[in-house]
């Protein structure tokens, strides 16, 4: 369990996971959009890991679908095999804007949904024959039920949910662990601009601890923090005619 690929490595939750893996001596392949944050994250992880050699960075944009096969190859060659893939990129584009701008709507669906599952499949092609390894995607509790406030993002995350369900059905018998992570609202740069007063944001360090621990324990669905499992259970079961009257 010490060769890890992280897609969207500049996401705060992913960074906190990477810290935990780096301190445990994992080798890391960090894939992210190319801003200077990636260099700072790499430097930080190198200190934690006690050296620079085990860490590679690759810059990419989530919508460059044609590069996925090459990404997988590069990561695989650098690490000499892959134990864990964490797909963590995403972009919370404003719901209201997506309702007015079909291009933006498409971008949101592709960045948060299509690209995540396509990457998962691209890694699976390489990993499935080995009969081991973990493929995990950061979804969202928003994918558990469509709500007026963010159903574009939610629908993309719901795609990830159904897709991984199927992948798990196919690949778990062959020894692979397919994991869907569903964080609740977390204090990260992604949510910073959409701060809803009154909503208590989870600490990304804590969310990361639950993810790393959950993967180790062989979990396939990780709500983080865990209380969201029960909150969403209730929300999913509210009858439609009551749900229509709620502003949640």
């Amino acid at each position: 369990m010490n060769r890890v690929v992280i897609v969207g490595a500049t996401s705060r939750i992913a960074e906190c996971c990477a810290r935990r893996w780096a301190s445990k001596g994992a080798r890391l392949c960090l894939i992210a959009r190319g801003d200077e944050r990636l260099d700072r994250i790499r430097a930080d992880l190198a200190v934690r890991a006690g050296g620079n050699d085990g860490i590679a960075t690759i810059r990419f944009d989530a919508l460059e679908f044609q590069r996925y096969a090459e990404l997988v190859r590069t990561a695989y060659d650098f690490l000499g095999g892959i134990d864990i893939v964490l797909i963590a990129h995403g972009d919370l584009l404003p719901q209201a804007d997506c309702e007015q701008d079909l291009e933006l709507l498409r971008t949101s669906l592709e960045v948060n949904g299509t690209s995540a599952v396509m990457l998962a499949e691209a890694f699976a092609m390489r990993m499935a024959p080995t009969g081991r390894g973990v493929i995990s995607i950061i979804g969202s509790v928003a994918g558990d039920r469509g709500r007026r406030s963010n159903y574009v993002y939610g629908a993309a995350k719901a795609l990830v949910d159904r897709y991984l369900e199927g992948m798990r059905h196919r690949l778990a018998p062959h020894g692979m662990q397919i994991v869907l992570i569903k964080p609740g609202p977390t204090a990260t740069p992604m949510t910073a601009t959409y701060g809803q007063p009154g909503v208590r944001l989870a600490d990304p360090e804590h969310v990361a601890e639950l993810i790393v621990h959950g993967i180790e324990r062989g979990r396939t669905t990780i709500y983080a923090p865990g209380m969201w499992r029960w909150i969403m259970l209730v929300i999913r079961h509210i009858p439609e005619r009551i749900f229509m009257k709620l502003s949640i």
Binding site: S23, R40, I41, V47, R48, G50, T188, P189, A192
Partner: protein, 438 residues
């Protein structure tokens, strides 16, 4: 974002702060329309970390390491990295902060801004003496790397400068080597102040760490009981077959603020009695590093036990005729019957501090906490202030929420020199209180 839930360790508030989270928001803090102050983990007791009705720059999220040199032990990192991170990540690799205060939940930036000291002050001085360099963002748009060799005036002003010279974004600190995560502790009771001074003279020449707890409920004149604790980092040989890094114990949390202070005359008396009795007359033992350095960090949010009114810390340094002044202070405290849970006594060493406004200086430091009981508490403080003044001493801004302007002037005669380096856009509740200026 406007926030009302930011408090300091001792003052429950409510305060009103505009906030800019430096890790989350892309906003340039220089666009703030009011004065700003960096806020780390909020462990200052009084108002030196607050900027009520103005703006706080939340720096805790600036938490990345930058470089570490395993030859020299120099760690360069963002200023929001906490000493707890450094302890957790570097003790297993054989390194420890060169100086640490009684809590590890402070950011490096906060530790520098208060030039914090620890139990090893008599040999190591305060933390500023171990800072190789730091990066300071100023409101004029500059980002200055300062060190003892480069922009040294600004460097000396920033060490202990209460965050008023600009925003510390990064620093390089020289860690010290340790072989294990254990301490070899020498514990010894004393019954008189004379006895304290003689143990202290002996222990300071032999041990790297030395501090003592003193009872402020009973005793009079020279008769003061207490427990002296001296320690060194244990060597690999001394710990024998034990794990080199002991497992961290579980922490507990005070879950809520009780409606009144749980610290009253009865509980304080019981606590002091218990503490003295559990200590042996004299013994040596091995103890894991965390409970040795940070006994209170095991209970998260322990400040809540003081109830909704919060509490005050009173930490002073006595410079001239310190022994006489100490005896006088202890008399005043015992007579006030407001005694404190934890009275801590330590002799500072003679290593000159690196900062212009640094608190630690050669002398005897006494630190006490008191539940906030309004006027009675403030009257006691005034009586103590008079003794500190006549002993040529000073109060510690990081612990203070009430010292007068005169008290600040007397304790910090270099404040005028400091003002030359202060950034005009930075201010704090403390600064406005003790200087009457922005």
């Amino acid at each position: 974002m406007l926030r009302e839930n930011i408090r300091s360790w001792g003052l429950p508030g409510p305060f009103q702060h505009q906030t800019i989270d430096l890790a989350l928001q892309a906003t340039d803090w220089r666009e703030s329309t009011t004065s700003v102050l960096a806020f780390g983990n909020g462990r200052s007791y009084g108002d030196s970390c607050l900027n009520d009705r103005h703006c706080l720059l939340l720096a805790r999220g600036l938490d990345r390491y930058r470089t570490f040199d395993a030859e020299t032990g120099i760690l360069e990192c963002d200023a929001g990295v906490m000493l707890s991170d450094i302890v957790r990540d570097f003790v297993p690799r054989g390194w420890f902060p060169p100086v640490t205060p009684g809590t590890r939940f402070v950011t490096l930036g906060g530790a520098i801004a208060n030039d914090v000291h620890g139990k090893n002050h008599h040999v190591a001085g305060s933390i500023g003496s171990h800072i190789e360099s730091l990066v300071l963002e100023r409101s004029d748009g500059s980002a200055v790397r300062c060190s003892p060799h480069e922009h040294d005036g600004l460097f000396r002003a920033t060490i202990g400068g209460l965050g008023l010279t600009g925003l510390i974004t990064a620093a390089a600190i020289r860690l010290r080597r340790v072989e294990t995560g254990w301490m070899r502790v020498h514990q010894q009771r004393f019954e008189t102040l004379d006895e304290f001074f003689s143990i202290n003279a002996w222990a300071e020449s032999r041990y790297e760490y030395a501090v003592s707890w003193i009872d402020c409920i009973t005793g009079s004149g020279n008769a003061r009981r207490g427990v002296y604790l001296a320690a060194d980092h244990a060597t690999a040989e001394e710990i024998g077959a034990r794990d080199k890094v002991p497992a961290a114990g579980r922490t507990k949390t005070v879950p809520l603020t009780p409606p009144f202070s749980l610290v009253g005359p009865l509980s304080v008396r019981a606590m002091n009695e218990l503490y003295f009795r559990q200590a042996s007359v004299k013994r040596e033992f091995l103890q894991p590093l965390l409970p040795y350095f940070y006994p209170l960090d095991g209970v998260l949010q322990w400040n809540r036990i003081y109830g909704p009114l919060g509490f005050y810390q009173y930490q002073c340094v006595l410079v001239r005729d310190a022994a006489v002044a100490l005896a006088e202070m202890m008399d005043v405290i015992v007579r006030s019957r407001q005694g404190s849970f934890l009275a801590v006594l330590k002799q500072f060493g003679t290593r000159p501090a690196a900062g212009i406004l640094s608190f630690a200086r050669p002398g005897l430091t006494l630190s006490l906490d008191f539940p906030n009981r309004g006027k009675t508490t403030h009257d006691l403080f005034k009586a103590l202030d008079a003794i500190v003044l006549s002993a040529g001493g000073a109060l510690y801004p990081a612990k203070d929420a009430r010292m007068s302007a005169a008290m600040f002037e007397a304790g910090y005669p270099s404040a005028g020199e400091f003002c030359r380096w202060k950034d005009p856009r930075f201010s704090s509740s403390f600064w406005r209180r003790v200087t009457g200026t922005e």
